[in-house]
Amino acid sequence: MNFISTIQNVFRGRTLATIGMIWLCVILVAALAAPIFAPFDPLDIDPIGRLQEPSWAHFFGTDHFGRDTFSRSIYGARMTVVIGLGSVVFALIIGGLIGMLSAYFTRLGHVLMRIVDVLMAFPALLLALVLMTLLERSVTNTIIVIGIVYATTTARILFGMTLKLKGEVFVDAAKCSGAGHSSILFRHILPNLISPLLVQASFIFAFAQLQAAALDFLGLGLPPEIPSWGNMLSEERIYVTRAPWLLLFPGILIIISVFSINLVGDAMRDSIDPRFKDDIAGV
């Protein structure tokens, strides 16, 4: 029940997951203190030093504008954190509320879950593509779009979990004590959803990275001037044969980060209540 022992429980004996967690912390620090760590301004153009190979001056080389890829990668961590956290918060709050309320209030559920069903008839990236076309390319819009996509799955999952909890004996017992709807929902049901929600959050975070990178790659994600790992891959891909390292570093950063989140999510899933294991999506 206490926070530290829970964390110990999750990571004990799971070396890879622990390394993953450390990596995520590194990303977070890099994101917060990007200007300190980055040796160059990520937007500084150097037409003479284009497409340089990795060197002591430019760890990851330079891109076709001569910008320092290492500095851009560090600033890219910012976007990773912002997009990840943003879509997780959006998806969990909107999707979580829809799912929980739909399961608890059956009639409301009939309406809300039908809407979720219709949205889920669209494959995720397709829905994101269409929504991005409606909106302008921007950080906020990318978060909203990815948030909407995963709000649907979150709603579906929370619907199932709340339905299960609603049938629990301790909920009946609370009713018999005279507890009202809000007390049952927020005092008895929600606290039992926290750990599965955290696991779900980790998977959404991972999916959001891949989804955002794909949107960037297709030219429908973040505005091109923002240094994100996805944008770096997208912009430099035509130079892949001349400067393969340009794609290597941002790509590996995405992979390691997503892999780390998945590892942490998996470790959390293994240590939570077995009741909900089946409900949680993930890789």
Binding site: A121, T133, L233, A281
Partner: protein, 315 residues
């Protein structure tokens, strides 16, 4: 079974209608004037107004929707602004590539995902399991387009074993051998999905392994392999089958990216290009087709599911 299928098909109609409204709204909310795009930069406002009227774009959204829906129901999805040919034939042109790509990918997924999943589950906790499930998670963490680009770089550009992009139809010169164009794309597309299936097969087999009836099977004196295949895997297939709808959705999403990376003339790339070209009739048509397809696949998944699990009654 037939009656049930029919019932389920009927039940799809409301969802499909709702989806069609959404698609229609989405496309009509996209900023930009189709008539202006169609006529190009040199067009005068009068010309644009005339075309807008001719295309029916000046009518109310509701009227436009029902006109569109009526046409769609008669098989007329409109005319592509970019290609100037019926939308349906634009989609049909991409169908061959996409269907072949999807089939090949599915084969890879099955061939890679299921055996490795079984292996990992039966050797639960061993190094085989750790490599298999760790590797699966790693592959699920790789962005599809990045994998595709590096496969091109290594196997097409570097080693020259496979063509790097495009896909001539198998009815063109080269015949069935043209399939080799799809080898790298299908592997790219299969990687994350096979990873998903590995983890799914493994997880559901481990779940089934804990069930009481497996102990009964062992108590009969069955060989462990027989128990694993006949009792554990067979039952695990139920939840694996249930997840196939999800896999298919992931496949469509990733096909959009993969076809773009490999410049394949398929439906996935058509979606992206139509969006970039603001080719509204094609966007509408192609998304409607994909949604229909996805729902039918889901229905098929449910039917298979019911066949695999006798507890589900088809009434």
């Amino acid at each position: 079974m037939l009656a049930y299928t029919f019932k389920r098909l009927l039940a799809l109609i409301p969802t499909l209608l709702a989806a069609s409204v959404l698609i229609f709204l989405f496309v009509h909310l996209i900023p930009g004037d189709p008539a202006a795009i169609l006529l190009g930069d040199t067009a005068t406002p009068e010309e644009i107004a005339e075309l807008t009227h001719a295309m029916g774009l000046d009518r109310s959204l509701i009227t436009q929707y029902f006109l569109w829906l009526g046409n769609v129901l008669q098989g007329d999805f409109g005319t592509s602004i970019f290609f100037r040919i019926p939308v349906l034939s634009v989609i049909a042109d991409g169908a061959e590539t996409s269907i072949l790509l999807a089939s090949m990918t599915m084969i890879w997924i099955m061939l890679i995902g299921i055996p490795i999943g079984i292996l990992a589950a039966t050797r639960h906790g061993s190094w085989v399991d750790q490599i298999a499930s760790g590797g699966a998670m790693l592959f699920a963490s790789i962005p599809t387009f990045w994998l595709g680009l590096y496969l091109i770089l290594i196997f097409a550009v570097g080693l020259g074993w496979f063509p790097s992009s495009g896909f001539p139809s198998i009815s063109d010169e080269g015949g069935l051998w043209n399939i080799r164009y799809l080898l790298l794309p299908s592997l790219t597309l299969a990687a994350p999905n096979a990873a998903l299936i590995i983890r799914l097969v493994r997880a559901s087999m481990l779940d089934v392994q804990r069930e009481d009836h497996v102990r009964t099977a062992r108590a009969k004196g069955l060989h462990p392999t027989k128990v694993a295949i006949r009792h554990v895997f067979r039952n695990a297939m139920i939840s694996v089958a249930a997840a196939f709808g999800f896999t298919f959705a992931a496949l469509i999403s990733e096909a959009v990216v993969t076809e773009t990376v490999f410049s394949l003339p398929g439906i996935g790339r058509l979606v992206v290009q139509s969006i970039l070209r603001r080719d509204y009739p094609v966007i509408q048509g192609v998304i409607l087709v994909i949604v229909c397809l996805y729902m039918i696949i889901n229905l098929l998944v449910d039917l298979t599911y019911a066949r695999l699990d006798p507890r589900v009654s088809l009434k």
